[in-house]
């Protein structure tokens, strides 16, 4: 006897409903933790940027709106003075440093990474050894890298100066880390040394997904290797490359450790992260620093969103 008359509308399969319920239960610990550890502190940071908080007076901070960002003051003598992060030369200098660093290092790392990836993609004796060797710079903690290179780039005792003079490339010792003209080069150099392995590996993974018969067909057609690279390899590797580039760009824009340790207190290399922390803790301009860190966050948010929209990253590649 069919109970069709009881339920004209068939009920939703309890399997799917049950799975969705379980999914939310499974996600809840993560959501709770992220709320506590990320969402709350972030919103507090943003809040602090809108107050006059300081390290000693975190809790009796008063709301002052956007004055940390931009404040106009008309003095009695008729002058108009501008304050706030957005008018701070030091801040914009940091922004400029960050952008300079970001663009140059990512471009360098991508090109060199591509070169190394192409090498690793070729089949040659000792390939495994080379792949293991290039992991070493990546494995070394940033602090250690900074110290190691600080030592090698030391103007008096450093081996880099020694080598360059012996090779005749320079004629007198350069203070790589201290000299304003060279400090950014030092930072970019060390970062590139450290990151090329990572980029190379990501690009290599993309290269290895290119089916071999594409190259064989090109070989049969007698296409010049350089042309093969630009017309065949590069387009096929582009998706993986784009992912690698955006990950690196995001990391580069928020860099702190290397700059702080290798070139401390250098206005030529101070990035947005460094200057924000300085203001937060070293100078006890807590609210001011919060404003700077919030601006950095917004900046990165815009970059990520633009990338996801324009790159049409497929986040929902899960089981259909």
């Amino acid at each position: 006897m069919s109970n069709l008359t009881e339920n004209q509308k068939p009920m939703r399969n309890e399997l799917q409903a049950g799975r969705v319920r379980s999914a939310w239960i499974f996600l809840s610990p993560m959501i709770v933790v992220l709320l506590i550890v990320a969402a709350w502190p972030l919103s507090r940071s943003v809040w602090f940027s809108l107050t006059d908080a300081s390290l000693l007076h975190l809790y009796d901070a008063k709301f002052i709106g956007f004055k940390n960002y931009f404040k106009v003051l008309h003095t009695d003598s008729g002058e108009t003075l501008y304050f706030g992060v957005l008018m701070d030369k030091a801040w914009w200098n940091a922004v400029w440093n960050t952008l300079r660093f970001g663009v140059v290092s990512v471009v360098l790392e991508t090109c060199l990474g591509m070169a190394v990836a192409l090498v690793l993609n070729a089949n040659f004796k000792g390939r495994g050894f080379v792949r293991a060797a290039i992991l070493i710079p990546w494995a070394i903690p940033t602090v250690v890298s900074a110290k190691m290179w600080g030592w090698m780039l030391n103007d008096q005792l450093g081996i880099v100066n020694d080598m360059l003079i012996k090779l005749g490339i320079i004629h007198e010792k350069i203070a790589w880390v201290a000299d304003a003209n060279y400090s950014m080069i030092a930072v970019v150099g060390v970062d590139t040394w450290k990151t090329v392995p990572f980029m190379a590996l990501l690009i290599l993974a993309g290269l290895q997904m290119v089916p071999g018969d594409v190259y064989e067909a090109a070989e049969i057609d007698g296409v010049h290797p350089v042309k093969v690279f630009f017309k065949v390899t590069l387009p096929l590797v582009l998706p993986a490359l784009m992912v690698a580039v955006i990950f690196r760009m995001m990391d580069a824009l928020r860099i702190f450790d290397l700059v702080y340790i290798l070139t401390p207190n250098s206005s030529q290399t101070k990035t947005m992260s460094v200057i924000a922390r300085e203001n937060l803790f070293d100078f006890d301009k807590f609210a001011y620093g919060s404003a700077e860190s919030t601006l950095l966050f917004l900046f990165l948010l815009v970059v990520v969103t633009l990338y996801i929209k324009i790159g049409r990253v497929n986040l929902d590649g899960g089981v259909q």
């Binding site: 069919s2 069709l4 068939p10 939703r12 399969n13 309890e14």
Partner: protein, 332 residues
């Protein structure tokens, strides 16, 4: 054993309608085969019966009880997957026992039932092995064994033979047929794209295309009285020869069809043509004749053909073996 009653079943994935309105009665204990080209919806139908997919509209009843809302493990079904889907980290015994363990059956019962199923499929010596230590055919039997242990009312097969090589396929086909008999004729629903499997295993065949049923019937019914051109062309190998135009008009039909095995070579009064190709398989020969139709007509001959390529021949259909179709492609 359960009878399955499907009424006006529809299934869509988002905006895509995969099943467009199916009515079907599967009798208790029968071996029903869903067959059709890729994308016809046969796998989806199987998964809807299993409960692995939501039903968009319509009802499905097992023994008269609506099961739309029931989870697969509550429907009394068991399923054999195309890729066997054995748990790689468990032994054969553990694979077969898993369902019972989850249902909290006691250890002795589990041992008995698994033992019986293993004996039935002759896989008892493998009970302690891991799936990766078994061959494809053995894994397939373990997959069937796992399904048997569930003591299901309905047994579902999702193209189980596609991953096996040709010889193994024939042998396993026999095993499945024997299984049906030995399991008190439990209801079996079987999906395949191979019409030979369908013809040999089925009590009844359901031919699907594009989310609709084209025809349901016994293998012989589908062979002798296909409802339309699609079914006529799908069942039987090689494909039924179809002719239109001047060949069909004497029979007052838009299209006529004659199977290769129902054509013979005549000396006069037939359709004239030239032999363009011959395939000799030893037991039979297939002779391709160009009589002016779009595609060459294939004629089956017993043994080795004496007609050589290029020779002029005449062919004619056997009496009563011509199928007539109207403009819509339906049988008249």
């Amino acid at each position: 054993m359960a009878s399955i009653s499907i009424k006006n079943l529809k299934k869509s994935f988002g905006a895509v309608n995969v099943i467009k309105g199916i009515d079907l009665e599967i009798k208790s204990g029968e071996f029903m085969v869903f067959v059709g080209p890729s994308g016809c919806g046969k796998s989806t139908m199987l998964r809807l019966i299993a409960g692995l997919e939501d039903i968009t509209s319509g009802t499905m009843e097992f023994d008269g009880k609506i099961v739309n809302a029931l989870a697969p493990s509550k429907r009394g079904i068991a399923m054999v997957f195309q890729s066997y889907a054995l748990y790689p980290h468990m032994t054969v015994f553990q694979n077969m026992a898993f369902g019972m363990k989850l249902a909290k059956n006691n250890k002795d019962e589990i041992k008995t039932r698994v033992g019986k199923a293993a004996a039935l499929l002759q896989i008892t010596p493998y009970l302690d092995r891991l799936p990766k230590q078994l061959s494809g055919g053995q894994r397939q039997r373990v997959a069937i064994g796992r399904a048997i242990v569930r003591d299901p009312k309905v047994f579902l097969f999702d193209e189980p033979l596609s991953n096996l090589d040709a010889a193994l396929r024939v042998a396993t086909r026999l095993e499945i047929a024997k299984l049906h008999h030995s399991m008190n004729n439990v209801t079996m629903v079987y999906v395949t794209h191979d019409q030979v499997e369908a013809m040999t295993l089925a009590d009844r065949i359901c031919v699907l295309r594009d989310g609709y049923i084209e025809q349901v019937g016994t293998p012989l019914e589908l062979y002798e009285t296909p409802a339309n051109i699609f079914v006529a062309g799908f069942i039987g190998s090689p494909k039924m020869n179809l002719m239109t135009g001047k060949f069909a008009s004497p029979y007052k039909a838009h299209t006529i069809g004659v199977r290769s095995e129902h054509l013979e070579f005549v000396t006069k009064g037939g359709w004239a043509g030239k032999v363009i190709h011959a395939e000799t398989l030893g037991s039979d020969s297939y002779v391709f004749v160009d009589i002016g139709t779009e595609e060459p007509v294939i004629v089956r001959e017993s043994g080795t053909t004496k007609h050589t390529v290029g020779s002029k021949v005449q062919i004619a259909p056997l009496k009563g073996k011509v199928h007539f179709f109207n403009e819509q492609g339906n049988s008249i």
